[in-house]
Structure formats: structure tokens, C-alpha cells
Amino acid sequence: MTATSLEAPPSKRFSLGGLLKTRELGIVLALTLLVAYTAIDNSRFLSGQSIRDNLLNTAILAVMATGQAIVVITRNIDLSVGSVLGISAFAVATLMSNNQDLPMIVALLAGLAIGAVAGLVNGVLVRYGKVPALVVTLGTLYIYRGITYSWAGGSQVNADELPRHFLTFANDSILGVPWLVLIALVVIAAGSVMMRNYRIGRELYAIGSSPPAAELAGIKVARNLLTAFVLSGALAGLAGVLYAARFGTVDAAAGNGMELNVVAAVVVGGVAVFGGSGSVWGAALGALLLTVIGSALAVLDINQFWQQAIVGALIILAICADRLVAVRIARSLRKRDAHV
């Protein structure tokens, strides 16, 4: 993945970067062990079809995790992403079934736009309503889902109503890479570069590290926060289009409860829940790990109760690691101060 192309951040942040790097390395290690163990049990787990399935299964979650990571890095959270996915999936599926000739790009843009509007509402409420993001997005989680329910009622859009090119988009490949996976890779790469190398990315980290300090340092907190929420919403909207294309059946309950998977992926991927650290590609790796766990347990014939328990254990492990990192950083900072 994009992981290997990234180098450690330059000298000044080296110790912090190094620690983070080991955390993401941990995910890669866990992933390798899991795949190796499952493949020994059943070699078909490494077949082309299986790898393709796993990447396709990850794509939607990874797109959402990218947006969520950006929001969590700013010390906020976006719980409405599952509902945004639902409203976007239903809207786009309805749009496409009523206009069979619309090209795929229109569907993708429509999804992005719907999601961006939903995200903007979140951002405005959080920033100008001065309400914690947890509460705001919990509220909009229900509002967006409610809108979808009242709009869709009991109806659903079925595969035979959707245009052919829309459905095949989920399975078609370009140079052997499925479109869904390609979109996810582009989103992750763009998100990673933005957060690491661009001014807005660094400002978002700064806001997450210490909101008052960021404000005092002259960072335009309001504008940056809105951007983060709009990005998260837009990516959830994009995920909705991918969801509709992949599953072919969309009803008002699409993506119900998905926000928890997304938050889990982000936390497991090493993004600190208190903001300021972690990376987009780490969150994407988290999404991949959670998806592969789901597939591996199905192949290994393990009771699905364990799947939930393992995901829970991973989250707690990740938060413990978070804490450990925080303590170490605090100690190393104190030492450095002492030398001065």
C-alpha cells in the first residue's frame, strides 16, 4: 500500500514519528500473522478471488475511516457517517434508477455533494453551536436516518432497477485493480499527503493537540474544523455510492450501525481519540485489519461472538497503546526541557 512510500517525518518530530511508526508497524504485523495463520489452515484464503474479496470489502470502510481519521485528529468525532452513507446510498440509487443513462461520475459527485452538505451541517453545529461533536453527530445520526426512513418508507431499490453500468462498476477492474479499491487507494493517498505535507493538515493536527493554543497561534480553527467535517461527510457520501453499487439492494437501513465500525477502524489504526496524533493510512490499515478479521473468522469457522470480542479487545489494546505513547512523549518532553 502507500505505507511503504512514506518516510519517517524529518528530524524534529523524529521520536514521536518513530513511536507512531512502530504502532502502525504493529498493525501490519498483526495483519501478517492473521493472514499467515488463516492461510496455513486454508490455503484458499490467499487465492486471487479471496484477496480481491477482502480488498473490496475493505474499500468502503477505508474510505469512511479516512474521513473519520481527519475528524478524530482534530479532537472531534463524527458519529453520523453511517446515516450519511444511508441517505447518500438511497438518494443515489433512486437517482440512478430514475435516470438510467446518467454516467457513473454523476453518481459519485452526487454522493460526495450530499455527504458534504451533511458534513457541513455537523461542522456548523459543532463550531458555532459550541456543542461537543459527540452530541451533535449523535443527534444528526438520528436526524439523517430519520429523513431516509421518512423518504424511503418501506421501499427499497433493487438490483434490477439500477442501470447496468452502475452495478458493474463494483466489479469492474482497471489493470486488475477493482474500481472500488482504486477509489479507496486514491482517497487514502490524498488524505495522507494532505494531512502530512500540507498546511491545512498540519493545522488540523495542531488543533487536535491543543485547541486553545492553536487559536492563539493564529490558526483559523473555524474554517479548518468545517473543512474536516465536510471532508468526513463527503467521504461517507462517496462510500454510500460505492455501497449501492456493491450490494445492489438499498433500503432505508443501509449502513445502519456502520459508524461504530468506522470509529473502531480509526482507533485500532492508531489515531489517538484525544486528537493530535495518528495517520490516515494507519486508519486505513485499521479498516483492512478489521475486515480481514471478519473474513478470517468466517473461514476459520470460529463462533461470531469471538469476532466482536476480538474487535473489542483490539480497541482496548489500541487505547492502552495510545496512553503509553502519551506518557512516553510527556516524559521525553520533560527531559528535553530539563536540558535546556
Partner: protein, 357 residues
């Protein structure tokens, strides 16, 4: 808090209604229950009686504008036309417990011959239904039953046995008579699915199924993504799998969608219980050869025929009585006035376009 005036209003109106009912029924209440009780046992069925024409048959579904109910009552309308009767459809806009009562009272005043009702609450509609029966109106329930003592017959869409057997039969057919099969169900604690799977397992012990091996019951939690992953797991764990049987509409659609886009297409069959509209795509691209579900239109159709036969005196609702329901053939009334629609309808490429639900 905001709702309290409305609640108060509906409580008051309900109370008034009840008061009204008891007031009206005051003296006739005892005689009413006598007549209905006596009517059932005393009036013997006359199997040779002709089914009358011009019967007024009213349908009262749980609520109007529900796609599934619409298909059911649509079947009823066809039957009433065949019977040369008068079809009437009334119903509330919400499926709350008491919303049907006023409609039943209106139907009594209009002197309908048969009321076909899907009870929103088994007890809330009972006093009104018994009033209707006292007025010599036959009451048939469908979809969801009212209490046994306030209706003449109940149309049961499917029995647990019927569905389990049908699943086993389709699995045998689709697997080509032998090999490994797997079940992709809803949640591990879904009551309906579990009882169907139990019957299916019993069925598989019979000699004609001896070459069929059920290797695993997987649970997709009625979630698309999870059902996808479980289907993928099944196909990887059991390379010789011949068929996936999904007794849930979400599961069968997800399994079909996955297989239609994977390298397993054509090698592994998918069957189970599904909605024709949801499955049309996969039946047409040959991923799914056959699946089943009860036909909602037939429920309404059968209910109309049962009601007409009863109003003509051919049957009374007692166990063992037989009657003919148009194109569906002959039916026998079971215990407690239950009439079972029969095995689920099977959908294939040839007939799927006739169904829209």
C-alpha cells in the same frame, strides 16, 4: 409531553367508543354471544350449497398503502371478481392497535357479508368482530390472526413444516441431488429462521436426501456486508460446496449478488426465501435458478373464497370441512379454523416477471 393532548383525546374517544358499544350492545350482548356460539355449532355446513353471487366482501388490511398489503388485497379483489361479488377495501393509515375498530363498525352498518381482516392487535378488534358475527357477517383473518374466539377462520400463509420441507427440496434440486450444502441464515437467535432450519435438518435425515450433506449454518445477521463475508467464508472453507440455502431475504440477495460477481458463478447454486423484485436481477443472469416465498396475492385470494363459501353456508369453519378456492384448488380447514395456504410459491426465470412485490 407534547403528545399528551392527543393521547388524551384518543383515550377519551376510545373510552367513548367502548361506552357506546356497551350501550348499544347492552341488552343484545348476551344474546349476541349466544347466537354466534349457537350459530357455529347448530347451523350445519351444507357442502352442496352453491356459492352465492353478489356477496359483499370487504377487506380491512393492517394499513393502506403498504406495498405488501396491497399485493394481498389485490389478490382478494381478483377473487371477488371471479365470485361476482362486491369488493370493498377500507383501512387505517397507521397500524396501531385500535385504529381498525371504527372501520369494522362502519362495515357492520353497511351490512357486508364477509369481512376479511388482518388484525393489528389480536384482542383490540375482538369486541367489534364479535358484533359483526352477531350480525351474521363472516369474519376471516389473514396475515395476522385475531383471537380464536372472534373470527370464523384464519388464512395461514405458511407452516413451519411447509417452509422447512420446501427449503430441503430446493436444496436437493439445486445441488443436483448430491453434495455439500450450507445454510446462510439471519441472526443466530432469529426465531423463524431457526425453526425452519430445524425442520430442514429433520427433512435431510430422510433417505431421499442421504447424498446431501449440510456442512454449516452460517449467520449473516441480515446485514449485507456480513452476509457477503459469510458467503465468502463458506466458499473458501468448503471448496466442494454445491448450494447455499438462505432462508432470509437479505441473505439470499447478498449471496446471489456476491456469487454473480465472483468466479463461483455457475458452480455454486443459491436458493432459499426471497422477494421476486429483489431477486429478479440474479434470476435473469442465471445465478439463481429457483427460490421460494408464499405469494401474498394468493393469501387474499384464498381469504375471499373462504369467506364466500362460509357466507353461502358451504362451510362453517369447523375442522375437516373442504371447499374449493378457484385456481388454488381444494382446501381443508384445520384445527381452530386455520386454513393453510400451502407450500410456498417457487419462482424461476419463467414465472418471475408475473410477480411484483
Amino acid at each position: 409531553m407534547l403528545r399528551s393532548p392527543r393521547t388524551l383525546l384518543s383515550v377519551t374517544s376510545a373510552a367513548l367508543l367502548v361506552a357506546g358499544l356497551t350501550a348499544c350492545g347492552g341488552t343484545t350482548k348476551d344474546s349476541a354471544s349466544n347466537t354466534s356460539g349457537g350459530g357455529q355449532s347448530a347451523a350445519a355446513a351444507d357442502p352442496n350449497a352453491a356459492v352465492k353471487e353478489g356477496l359483499k366482501i370487504a377487506f380491512l388490511p393492517k394499513q393502506l398503502n403498504n406495498p405488501y398489503s396491497d399485493v394481498e388485497t389485490g389478490g382478494g379483489k381478483v377473487a371477488v371478481e371471479e365470485l361476482k361479488g362486491e369488493y370493498k377495501l377500507v383501512g387505517p393509515n397507521d397500524a396501531s392497535a385500535s385504529s381498525q375498530v371504527s372501520y369494522i363498525n362502519t362495515l357492520i352498518q353497511q351490512q357486508q357479508d364477509v369481512i376479511v381482516v388482518a388484525a393489528n392487535d389480536p384482542n383490540a378488534v375482538c369486541p367489534s368482530l364479535n358484533q359483526a358475527r352477531a350480525a351474521k357477517i363472516k369474519v376471516i383473518t389473514f396475515d395476522s390472526d385475531a383471537s380464536k374466539d372472534c373470527r370464523d377462520a384464519f388464512i395461514n400463509q405458511a407452516t413451519t413444516e411447509g417452509i422447512g420441507q420446501s427449503l430441503a427440496k430446493m436444496a436437493l434440486e439445486q445441488a443436483g441431488g448430491e453434495g455439500e450444502i450450507a445454510v446462510l441464515s439471519a441472526t443466530p437467535n432469529a426465531t423463524n429462521q431457526n425453526s425452519w432450519i430445524e425442520v430442514m435438518k429433520e427433512e435431510l435425515k430422510k433417505p431421499e436426501y442421504s447424498k446431501l450433506k449440510l456442512v454449516k449454518v452460517a449467520y449473516g445477521n441480515d446485514d449485507d456486508q456480513k452476509s457477503f463475508q459469510e458467503a465468502q467464508g463458506l466458499l473458501q472453507s468448503y471448496p466442494n460446496l454445491k448450494a447455499i440455502v438462505a432462508p432470509t431475504t437479505v441473505g439470499i440477495a447478498a449471496a446471489a449478488r456476491y456469487i454473480s460477481s465472483s468466479s463461483y458463478k455457475g458452480k455454486v447454486a443459491v436458493t432459499g426465501l426471497g422477494l421476486p423484485n429483489q431477486m429478479r436481477e440474479y434470476v435473469k443472469d442465471d445465478t439463481v435458478k429457483k427460490f421460494a416465498l408464499w405469494n401474498p396475492a394468493d393469501i387474499g385470494y384464498l381469504a375471499a373464497f373462504a369467506g364466500a363459501n362460509m357466507a353461502s353456508g358451504k362451510i362453517t369453519g369447523a375442522q375437516g370441512e373442504k371447499f374449493t378456492a378457484g385456481k388454488l384448488g381444494e382446501y381443508t380447514i384445520g384445527a381452530d379454523g386455520e386454513i393453510v395456504l400451502g407450500p410456498p410459491t417457487e419462482f424461476t426465470k419463467e414465472n418471475i416477471d408475473q410477480f411484483n412485490f
